[in-house]
Amino acid sequence: MTDTTAPAPAAKTGPRISGAFHRLLAFSGLIALIVAFSLASPNFLQTQNILAILQATSVNGVLAIAATLVIITGGIDLSVGTLMTFCAVVAGVILTYWGLPLPVGILGAILAGAASGLVSGTIIAKLKVPPFIATLGMMLILKGLSLVISGTKPIYFNDTPGFNQIALGSFIGQIFPAVPLPNGVLVLFAVALIAAFVLSKTALGRYTFALGSNEEAVRLSGVNIDRWKIAVYSVTGAICGVAGLLIASRLNSAQPALGQGYELDAIAAVVIGGTSLSGGRGTVLGTLIGALIISVLANGLRILSVAQEWQTVVTGCIIILAVYADILRRRAL
């Protein structure tokens, strides 16, 4: 018993302290961007624009949190984008094609995500296929399946009134009309809180860090690492299901061809937020800040009328800067 728990706390205390440092770093970067854009344009710091930024962050933020979990284990999930789409399409099939009630559609999308994560996790843990390859394969499989089950056309949710309220409605706005915060943003915050709780307070969280720090040590201490690995990928998949519901609700349709490329934005948010791609280190809060940095940057540059090609260049520079700053910090420690 003492053997199994011994490596876990040791692996955890390190990441925690450095994580806190990094969080500060990414957070000051976010504040710097907000200040700079506010000074550059009076249109930036307006309620409507802040809401637009948060709305734009919600889907990528949830996907990035999903990716954070597997990245902390030292793995990667390239299928988060197309899995999101697949779950959206599953919701579309359940609600629009089959006409079942809303809760069934919501549950179905999340279960579809978890099931796909279970498959990815099993391929990685049991068949020993490297995560990069396994999830690359899953990315394509899910992309194809989304097109197959949707009949290659968007599925609209017009017959399910209330579906678009998941992302677009505003529960807060009904209480405080001045701040119509979209529900999608609340969902993002809820997912973040739950993920942060799981990572810091549960056995699953402890093993997530332990797998990323020293998988061999965990295995030698008698833990069934395959089971925990599969569990992490399943949770990641379920969170992608939530992202699928958010994007489908926002568009009031499941767009089957969308999704590829979204994994890269999610991974970028994770990395900017200080989670190490080599595993064992990372925080949900960092990822949330990383996702916000990406949205603020995109929105701010658009408001400043910067040409699109240059927006892309700047985003690339920021990713490299953020990770370089992290390397400098670790050298200094």
Binding site: A52, A56, L321
Partner: protein, 315 residues
């Protein structure tokens, strides 16, 4: 110290950009945000070139953005939301999904920002006008060229992409009606639909040719149909006149080799130009027609290399 480093980095990046876009802010002029369906493809770059040309000519500021692929509906909405926050004077929009854009369209309407729809347009009554290709007139031009090439008499056929889409309906009607009205000695013996699929259009073409050995020409109503028609013609060793639609490397190659007589091209540069022009018109309070034709051209081997034609062709 490290925090300061990131801060400095971030600020200098922003400062650099602010400096780069500085001059456009200095002018007191109309600010027009164009949100397109794409950005990287040659077609959209040609639309952008037209918009830039109009911006320079009329002294207005134009920004042009579009998602990486035509499936990224949510990314287009984020672009539209950021454009609205910028409070431009007008917005040009080619919606990927009109329904999904409804909240932003309403927001624009309540902020009195006129929306100019372009390309396939926006399925809503909020846009003040739509800049698009007049497909009926474009297909009628194809009919006239066909008549000219076959000596204004004989049998012809049409291979189109589908009978449900707006472009499919308009191009078939435009061609068939023009032949009936202006070329009484020509008979359209067959109109077939191949879904724009090259292989299916090839098979259709072969069956039309086998059923009508005296056929003189076929009009392929979109890129895939036209390529299929040429393939079918080549497989049977026929010498009929083929007129295609749009461009692309394959069609351009067929025109160069003589397998295709020529094709109709839409004018993406014109779409961009007319969109900006219509936005200025709307801001000046002019009454705009519901549809603004962005123009089209017939091109063949002789004029393919002309700068104005070459500019609207893509690979």
């Amino acid at each position: 110290m490290l925090t300061r480093r990131t801060l400095l980095g971030a600020i200098s990046a922003v400062a650099m950009l602010a400096a780069a876009s500085g001059p456009t802010f200095a002018q007191e002029n109309y600010d027009i945000a164009i949100i397109s369906k794409g950005f990287q493809h040659q077609f959209w770059q040609a639309v952008k070139a037209g918009a830039d040309q109009a911006a320079e000519e009329f002294g207005v500021t134009v920004t042009f953005e579009g998602p990486e692929t035509e499936t990224q509906v949510d990314r287009q909405l984020d672009m539209l939301a950021a454009a609205l926050s910028r409070q431009p004077d007008a917005i040009g929009l080619a919606a990927l999904d009109s329904q999904a854009a409804t909240p932003q369209l309403q927001q624009a309407q309540s902020a009195n920002i006129p929306i100019i729809a372009f390309d396939s347009g926006v399925d809503s009554d909020i846009p003040v006008t739509t800049v698009t290709t007049d497909n009926v007139a474009a297909a009628a031009l194809a009919a006239d060229k066909m008549a000219e090439l076959i000596g204004d008499e004989g049998k012809v056929a049409v291979v189109a992409h589908d009978q449900t889409s707006r472009t499919g309906i308009d191009r078939v009607d435009g061609f068939v009606n023009r032949i009936k009205e202006a070329h009484p000695n020509i008979e359209v013996v067959s109109v077939q639909y191949g879904g724009g699929d090259q292989l299916q259009s090839t098979e259709i073409t072969k069956s039309i040719l086998l059923a009508n050995p005296d056929l003189k020409g076929i009009f392929g109503a979109n890129e895939g149909s036209a390529i299929g028609v040429v393939n079918g013609k080549t497989e049977l060793g026929s010498n009929i006149v083929v007129i295609g639609f749009d461009s692309g490397a394959a069609q351009k190659g067929f025109i160069e080799s003589g397998a295709m007589a020529g094709a109709i091209t839409q004018n993406p540069v014109g779409i961009g130009y007319e969109t900006v022009k219509a936005a200025i018109g709307a801001l000046k309070g002019e009454t705009l027609p519901a549809i603004i034709d962005s123009g089209f051209n017939y091109y063949d081997k002789s004029n393919m290399a002309d700068p104005e034609i070459a500019a609207v062709l893509y690979d």
